[in-house]
Subunit: 413 residues, 2 copies
């Protein structure tokens, strides 16, 4: 069993991040905590200890989301929830998810030390899962908390070893029915801080990102069908080269994406050529396509461009098949929270940018359920899902400071 | 050990093809005879039996090329050599190589039956290797016969199991010094018939292809270097998408190939994307490029277009590296043979097309050594290097007929 650091004596966001990263630490200096794995279990247990040491009431829900509560003294059933996810991708970074949980814990604790119990309940949440790295399902934790998924829908999902989500959950000690919240308790707001996972804040030299919208995402698998043939004996004019068709498609859709709107992003990141042999004309090509925008109208307009390309394939006597397998709607976050946070950033003297998140976050699940705020701190070089993920401790502390101010306004005033 | 058919009683090209295909037959109905493998050894031994049964003098040379000779009665030291290669690709067809050997044996034998010993020596050759499917070296057999390779150059080459060519050769019983030819013997001509491995004869409904040139081939590995980044958080304008660059290159060079000359072929058949993940912008792409033309000037002109593309990569702050790892010069075959064969095809009443070979053949090695002829028969749908390879027996017989007429003119008249 790996050695873990003891909980640091002094509450400090950077020390806490290093400490939590020892749970699931990889040889590369990254972190792997797949849902319900041993490292994940130990990390949630460690978080539970941290919460207990800092005076929280602690509970797990049925699927393994961990909550640490400072009960409200005036309106205990009104809950201000704050946190992020404990799981990581394989060999991910120390900050993605973990920062949001620990920043929440630290902000809530510092407020508690200074002002005593809040008026409304503050609850820190370490969500079980967001990444979809073990099972083909994302936002398991936040969807469970917000009642957007049933166990029936997900329990039979298999990981790459053929383990079902239900088996894995039971082995980790979860799966017993519980009440997610006590009667009449209500989540009044959800607050999340996260690293940006992009370069915009660093490039613009801004300290805080205030997110207004989380983009919608559509993902497609595209199949281009031509005809394999001998590279030497088939004249150019007689070819049905699926790779040439796919290449023209890539050029076309990336140009169209730029033309349509500057905040639309369209990515072909994966290409599988068949038979993928230097002296054989490609008979088939499979491409991924990932498209994101905060406005459904742009996603629709772009989708039409993609589907229209089938006509070009047909004219070349080839075939193009399109399978859209993911369609996540854009989420518009609370305008009231955005307004509030702008004020607080100004009061704190932090530079900020009001922005759209191109990546998915737990906040997008909560965003359709209750007033939700999502705050970013810079990611060095935009690197994420990698051991190279890095944010300077001073920047981490600014995120904690904003969260403290938000929690104060929502739970103490 | 697999069961093999006995040598058919009646000499017939289609029966012989089926018989030889039992040596190295695969479950798919294909043939696998890698150089010096057990199935290869048994096939050469079977060919030796066939030659002996049909009255040839038989010998192997040092590297395993098999010769069956009808000695000339007037000019025995003047050799008309005819044949092709015995080896196959993995799970290849029954006709590629084998047809040329068996057609030569049949043509020579039929002439011998009818006219007795030739004036000049006719020698049928079953060449050890052409495909390069076991060791990374092609035309081992023909290069040996024509003195274009030394054992020193090739003996240390390793197959995919780490076996050296020399070890494999010795295990198969070869590698002892021999004299390839007796003193003052001279190969005066080389004749090969082969399936076209392309669709031109079938499309044009021609019975015989008379080859004037075998294309030169250049092969390149291209590396496009960009920058991996998050597909959601990196605006289009900030990307260094190596796949987008590679796609534009594919479109550019295939268009330029068409523009340059209708008989130029340029193929990108293999693409490897890194990291090849749907939601990550491609940081690197490796592409193959295979270019063929019968005229070096066109190969040079096209190469310039490829190299010039590096400037476009540079303008996009990306990098393109080009490695040319193969450069086979075009070979112009004997005009005299072409003229002779046209006459003979007309006399035989066969339709024919005078054409360039886009695929490589043993004839290209002999073509720089002695007057050489290469004749094609149609390949159904152009399919080759596959169990689906097929040519109708009547078409096979027409190739034998042309070969008979060529051999008669060269060795009997």
């Amino acid at each position: 069993m790996a050695q873990h650091d003891a909980i640091p004596d002094q509450p400090s966001i950077s020390h806490w991040i290093e400490w939590l990263a020892t749970y699931g630490q990889t040889e590369n200096g990254g972190v792997t905590r797949l849902l319900y794995s041993e490292s994940w279990q130990r990390a949630q247990e460690a978080m539970k200890e941290l919460m207990l040491q800092h005076g929280c009431q602690v509970r797990f829900d049925e699927v393994g989301n961990l909550f640490g509560r400072y009960p409200g003294r005036e309106q205990p059933k009104a809950i201000i929830l704050t946190g992020s996810h404990i799981d990581t991708v394989i060999d991910g970074g120390k900050y993605d998810g973990a920062y949001g949980i620990l920043a929440s814990m630290l902000a809530a604790h510092l407020l508690y030390l200074k002002y005593g119990p809040p008026k409304k309940t503050i609850e820190v949440v370490s969500l079980a899962e967001e990444e979809g790295s073990r099972f083909p399902f994302t936002f398991w934790g936040s969807k469970w908390v917000t009642g957007q998924v049933e166990l029936e829908e997900a329990k039979a999902l298999l990981d790459s070893n053929g383990f079902s989500l239900e088996e894995a959950m039971k082995q980790a000690g979860f799966g017993q029915p519980t009440l997610a919240l006590k009667e009449k308790e209500k989540i009044e707001a959800f607050l999340e801080v996260h690293i940006e996972q992009g370069v915009m804040l660093e490039r613009k030299q801004k300290e805080i990102g205030i997110v207004t919208d989380i983009v919608g995402q559509r993902r497609y698998t595209l199949q281009f069908q031509g005809e394999s043939n001998h590279a030497g004996t088939t004249p150019m004019s007689m070819r049905k080269d699926a790779l040439r068709l796919a290449a023209a498609f890539i050029t076309h859709v990336t140009e169209e994406a730029e033309r349509l709107d500057e905040s639309l992003v369209a990515t072909i990141g994966k290409v599988v050529v068949s038979p993928n042999t230097p002296n054989v004309i490609a008979g088939g090509v499979e491409c991924s396509l990932d498209v994101r925008h905060a406005n459904v109208a742009y996603l629709d307009a772009f989708e039409k461009i993609v589907f229209d390309y089938r006509e070009i394939a047909k004219k070349q006597n080839m075939q193009m098949d399109i399978n859209r397998w993911l369609n996540i709607k854009p989420v518009h976050l609370s305008d009231k929270h955005v307004q509030l946070t702008r004020q607080q950033a100004e009061e704190a003297g932090f530079s900020y940018d009001v922005m759209v998140s191109g990546a998915g976050h737990d906040a997008q699940v909560f965003g359709t359920f209750c007033p939700t705020s999502l705050i970013f701190v810079p990611s060095h070089k935009g690197i994420s899902h990698s051991p190279e993920e890095y944010t300077h401790w001073q920047e981490l502390e600014k995120g904690v400071e904003i969260l403290k101010r938000q929690l104060y306004t929502l739970a103490y005033e």
